[in-house]
Symmetry: C2
Subunit: 264 residues, 2 copies
Amino acid sequence: MTIPDDHPRRDSLLSRQRIVDAQAAGLLADSALIAHGRGEAFDYLIGERTTDSAKAAQREALNRLFHAKSPVISLNGNSTVLAGEEAICLAALTKSNIEVNIFYRTDDRMRLLLADIQKKRNKVIETPPSPKIAIKTWREMVESVRIYGENPDAEIPGLHGPRASCSSLGIFQADVVMVPLEDGDRCEALVAMGKQVLVIDLNPLSRTSMRASVTIVDEVSRAIRQMVRMALHGPSHDLSDWNNRTILEDALSEIATAVKQLQR
Amino acid sequence: MTIPDDHPRRDSLLSRQRIVDAQAAGLLADSALIAHGRGEAFDYLIGERTTDSAKAAQREALNRLFHAKSPVISLNGNSTVLAGEEAICLAALTKSNIEVNIFYRTDDRMRLLLADIQKKRNKVIETPPSPKIAIKTWREMVESVRIYGENPDAEIPGLHGPRASCSSLGIFQADVVMVPLEDGDRCEALVAMGKQVLVIDLNPLSRTSMRASVTIVDEVSRAIRQMVRMALHGPSHDLSDWNNRTILEDALSEIATAVKQLQR
């Protein structure tokens, strides 16, 4: 499919194509396509842009990654496909590790996703995200990001079956976990473990959005790309009181306002 | 998957499961799942219920089917899977024919969908939708519904490739076409042929919604089920002036209001 460079919905259509291609290649569960469609609709309603409240949440999430003892970015199928490169950059800049962790775990999908993220890492390592970072330094930063997920050897308490699996050196021991596009049950279980849970979810009313420590209501690749830009400047403030409820209300107001503007 | 009878989102979860199962069985294109997900999000925002403006549009669409010379209900993959039985009932009550017509046409999918609709017809024919209709009468009504789609022998002007295909005795010659879940290009091309085009689309801002003669902003199975109930009483009014633009504005207002209520 060719999409003109100036198509107003180019990013959205490219993301859709990536998801369709990845599903055809066996990287994603069927439910991944439905979840992507739901996201598309919410993104459409907020105007396919990063809102002010989402920016505030990105800043907060970023600071928590910077201040964490052992931060982990957990990638599921859709976030690996849509924002794997951005996530590796962000991990390198915030000294986080990555865990590929999918809800409907199968060996085939895990193998394909781990190969995909390695390929993306090999691409990212070639180009620093800013001319201020020397190529050699950047290589070291990216190389220091561990990628877990191949051999899950721990379980998230309160969950059952394959969805409970995680890595003892990854999610299990992390104090701060960023989980773009997380399932509601899993988000709750991670919060119950005492972790700070940072999520990216276009539906401000989802259980994941409601339970997370910090909710970024934004499209996953746009959000992480923006966080990478912010991360180049380091942490922007000390950890502050954070009212996630207010952020979700702001996000809903923004959707309501956007819908009203669409009426004109 | 078992969903409790009293689950507040039971219908939505059952529909999702139907779509996932049908995709696994080869009845649907990948894009069908994404489209379903988009629909889910909009349905969520309108509260998964039929709004007053949707009811008005259903009544109008129904009257147009009743007053048509040669009405056809066109079913794509998702609408066959989600609302095939309801569509057959509606066709029987309004003396419409059915055409199975998919945008990304492959012989395999067409064969599976035609088998599915026949199976649904065999089920529907057993039980009249109202005790006022005798079983024998109902059998005749359902048997008189022709199902086209197997041998497309005509083309919709202005479209190219498989998506232009249709049946000369079905969509091609119809004066009124009901096309739940139609693609924007196809909707436009059908309007350009001078047909009245009745669509069901959860996104009031889609090109399909904007171009249709009558747009029902509602979930497809809920909408057609409601139209079947209405159809048992026959046409409810003479054909009236119909301002589809107003209906779309009402639908958007309803979404905006629903989002505001969700904030409380």
